[in-house]
Subunit: 338 residues, 2 copies
């Protein structure tokens, strides 16, 4: 059994990692259809020793595909997802376009795999910070029952795509070599700086990114009453996101049980030996499949509370890897027709 798989947004930061991970994880593919904007059409991409030509995405591009991973932004998703689904191609969508739509499952395979099978042609891949935070929180929810979350993020520039990575590189080189820093992606310098600003602002002072943690967290964990306050901050780190979390639970917590829950949760690993300076860091979780969880301790504000620190690769578990894991889940359960 091998599948005809498409990638929309094949030339972007996530698109490139999708191609790499499909190869590294030996996803069974008979045809790889690489779709992008007209600008990239005609370029070629090597995949498993074959050369594949990038095509401009049109509604007909999805004909005959078994599944297509969309990673070209919300407007492209809105333009093409329903067209693709209509043609029998399952869409796994990295954008925020459909995440909160009823009837569109929002899936982290380690957390709510069964939701994936309820799709009507589109499955949404959650926000990167949300996925990584939940990889630390969900095992604790299973152990103690999650009530509320206060999270502050430390988000890498990879979250802004290739442009963000290039901007941090360019600005840092300009600092080292005495050149001029260019600002194209961010409204302010990101090198040696922090921007408490990810995605657009709403009138109530929250950003769209901050509200994703609340809304997507509720949907993924089926916790409609969950309370979340989130502050999202862009930091001069290339690739892995970190999140500092204080969480309140229904039931009394213990550090030992919390550590056991995290250590036993597929996709996360416990890195929590502060006496030996061992805790998860972005450099150790770049191009790594699992998320790292550490600094687990009793929260001092919430009665049944824990504080923790979670790290994960924004491009992998926060985007490309989670999307592929959704496809793998469909394949494993015979829910992908080849």
């Amino acid at each position: 059994m091998a599948y005809k798989i498409g990638i929309l947004g094949a030339t972007g930061a996530v698109g490139q990692e999708l191609i790499r991970l499909l190869h590294e994880r030996n996803f069974p593919i008979s045809e790889l259809r690489l779709l992008a904007s007209a600008r990239s059409a005609g370029k070629t991409q090597t995949y498993q020793d074959k050369s594949w030509t990038i095509q401009e995405a049109t509604p007909d591009s999805f004909d005959g595909l078994d599944a297509c991973i969309f990673s070209a932004g919300a407007s492209q998703s809105k333009a093409f997802a329903e067209e693709a689904a209509k043609r029998g191609c399952i869409v796994i969508d990295n954008s925020s376009a459909f995440r909160m739509d009823e009837g569109v499952p929002l899936v982290v395979p380690e957390i709510n795999p069964d939701a994936a099978f309820e799709h009507k042609g589109i499955i949404a891949n959650p926000n990167c910070s949300t996925i990584i935070t939940l990889m630390g929180l969900y095992p604790l929810h299973q152990a103690f029952g999650l009530k509320s979350v206060i999270a502050s993020t430390y988000q890498a520039v990879s979250g802004s795509g290739t442009g963000g990575i290039v901007e941090l590189e360019q600005q840092t080189r300009a600092w080292a070599e005495g050149g001029e820093m260019k600002k194209e992606v961010y409204p302010h310098q990101i090198a040696f700086n922090l921007l408490p600003h990810v995605d657009v602002f709403f009138d109530d002072g929250y950003t769209k990114e901050e509200m994703k943690m609340l809304n997507e967290g509720r949907k993924i964990m089926s916790l409609p009453e969950l309370k979340v306050t989130c502050t999202c901050v862009r930091v001069p780190v290339f690739r892995a996101h970190c999140i500092s979390v204080s969480a309140e639970f229904e039931r009394p917590v213990s550090i030992e049980a919390a550590r056991e829950a995290v250590a036993g949760f597929e996709g996360s690993e416990l890195v929590d030996d502060p006496a030996n300076a061992k805790y998860p860091m972005p450099l150790d979780y770049s191009e790594v499949v699992n998320c790292g969880v550490g600094r687990i301790r009793k929260d001092q504000v919430f009665e049944n509370g824990l504080a923790l620190w979670v790290t994960g690769d924004q491009v992998w578990k926060g985007a490309a890897l989670n999307a592929i894991q959704i496809a793998e889940l469909l394949h494993d359960k015979g829910k992908l027709k080849g």
Copy 2:
């Protein structure tokens, strides 16, 4: 009226800024006595067009001084503070050595100026992250009555002294130029990385730095019941600290009243116009007297809660400036004998 002022730790990152700020703020000085370790003795330092020779600190170094600002670490403070006080020299101590001692005032002049006058020879200067956080929180406490705080810090390398600054510079240049990164100050690479590790760890998983926010916050604001959970993180930024705060209050909050309280608080300024990408950032608050407060919004977990983002220069308001402001306070109120 002019004073005989000493600086212990004159050659360090904070010591150098103390000398600069005493000059820029025209503190009335008749003698500047620069004290350091034997290693630095004999070097000279220009201050107000005069050359001053750095002396090795001994108990007798404090004879005849009206006040001395200590910024040479806790062990040096323990060695000399009581000797200096015995000799009639008021010690303003930047280290953590005496902060929690009964009888030693812990002072942020905008918050608890009167405490300074109760000293018995030693006045402690609080922890940098604590000072900067309170510059955002205290006006809100005055308005609504503070109950609990959940804070995550984003701490610049200046908090580790000159060595931290040099290490971030060296590692970043090595990245740009292809050289080898040296690790002397931090246990892990700090360039393009994050370390959830500031100061030493206790058995309960908290760091000493994290507990300062709780213990010093309680003492400075006279709030013995205050609850604080803090997570301290070192980030690749040179000089200003940032803190993401969720705070719970006794009384109902309003955004307008919160903004007014911050805007009217001496030493802080409101930078809160997210629609125009205006919020406090470390680059805008390096070598700046005031702290910046922004991203003020309703907290979504606490019933009477606010979320906010505070920034301030770690070397200035977090250390040297606050110490000088304590000396200025004593001078203004006639409590410093010349």
